[in-house]
């Protein structure tokens, strides 16, 4: 079962999230578009697909199994934030794990909690752009050294400092700009995942595929990080990222071990 989020029911989804204990985890970006050294502007590099081609390319990509969500699937239990305001970290980790899979590297479960330094090791929301800037410098440690839902450094193995250097998301593109939706659609059709924030939800998610819904509208999918059964298909204006949108193309190359 998936959640379907539309322009008419999104308030109910937000309310359910709040009732389930999920606080605002994503904050509006602080940097200007193109202001991140690690993330040049996508639309300045790639001619965005014209809207007239979207639906046919979306169907073709699905038929070809091109979407990153068709090639790698997040584990809804391992990637469950469990009430912590760490959606900004969980979705960033999902983006990194998927990128590793796309490069043919062995699976390693990464630990979003290893990014806790960004928020002073407290249970707080954070900025997507600052989070990726931190991760592109320090990396994300594996679960082997930083257990799930443990955000105090005292609960971690000190080996995390070396370990995280193996998992650095190095090459990002900023999808914001004149037309963030066109850039997001183009990136997904090219087989990349998108790390985005939605201000109406106060939530950061990782987008992994597109489809044409039964009503003919474009829908975008996120595995989400709200636990099993909470992956979502989002359509209409709710699907358009509103607090930053980034695509990850490269991670450090490491054969790694299975965590």
């Amino acid at each position: 079962m998936s959640i379907h989020i539309t322009d008419s029911n999104f308030r109910e989804v937000v309310q359910r999230s709040q009732e389930a204990g999920f606080t605002v985890g994503a904050l509006p970006r602080r940097s200007k578009v193109g202001g991140l050294a690690c993330a040049p502007v996508f639309a300045e590099r790639v001619p965005l697909l014209p809207e007239s081609q979207w639906k046919s390319r979306i169907r073709e990509a699905e038929a070809d199994g091109v979407y990153i969500g068709q090639r790698w699937q997040s584990d809804p239990n391992a990637d469950y934030q469990n009430g912590f305001g760490y959606c900004w970290a969980y979705s960033l980790s999902q983006a990194t794990m998927a990128c590793r899979a796309a490069m043919g590297q062995p699976f390693v479960q990464l630990s979003p909690e290893s990014l806790a330094e960004c928020v002073g090791y407290r249970n707080r929301g954070y900025y997507l752009d600052d989070a990726l800037a931190y991760a592109s410098q320090h990396g994300i440690a594996s679960r082997l050294f930083v257990p799930q839902h443990k955000i105090s450094k005292a609960q971690w193995s000190q080996q995390y400092l070396d370990d995280r250097k193996n998992y650095i998301p190095t090459e990002w593109y900023d999808l914001d700009g004149k037309d963030v939706w066109a850039a997001t659609v183009t990136a997904l059709i090219m087989g990349f995942g998108c790390y985005v924030g939605y201000d109406w939800w106060g939530h950061a998610v990782w987008l992994d595929r597109l489809r044409i819904g039964s009503n003919g509208k474009i829908e975008v999918h996120t595995p989400n990080s709200h636990g099993p059964g909470n992956d979502a298909w989002i359509s209409g204006s709710r699907a358009i990222p509103s607090m930053g949108s980034f695509v990850l193309r490269n991670v450090t190359f490491s054969t790694g071990g299975r965590a």
Binding site: R45, A102, G104, M190, R249, F253
Partner: protein
Amino acid sequence: METIRRYALCVAIGLILGGAAVEYGPMALRLLPGSDWGTPVDAMIVYESGFDTVPTREFTKMITHAPRDCGVRVIDKDTLGKGKQPSAELQPYLDAAKGHDLPVLVSHWASGLYSAKPCPETLEGLKAEVGK
């Protein structure tokens, strides 16, 4: 005396040629087109950092399916390893890709050699290339 000298010279030349054949023969054979390089143990597609166009449907399909369907890993030429330096494993692939137009398919052979050739443009072409 002359015969002995000739015989000794022939033996010396023979030893030199024989030694060279033993030392360099296998390498020379491997460099000949169509010769046996041993078994391919790994392969990677090295492609270009940054994009300036949306890849074709066929190329997108090929590059995204390469790891799962063909066991061919995909790396960007600017992919950096631990400490922001190419890892020992990665470096030979990047070295082999040098001087070639990207994307390039780099194969690592059981003989220890690396070879590079233009990457096929389709998934079917890649499968045929790597024997899948």
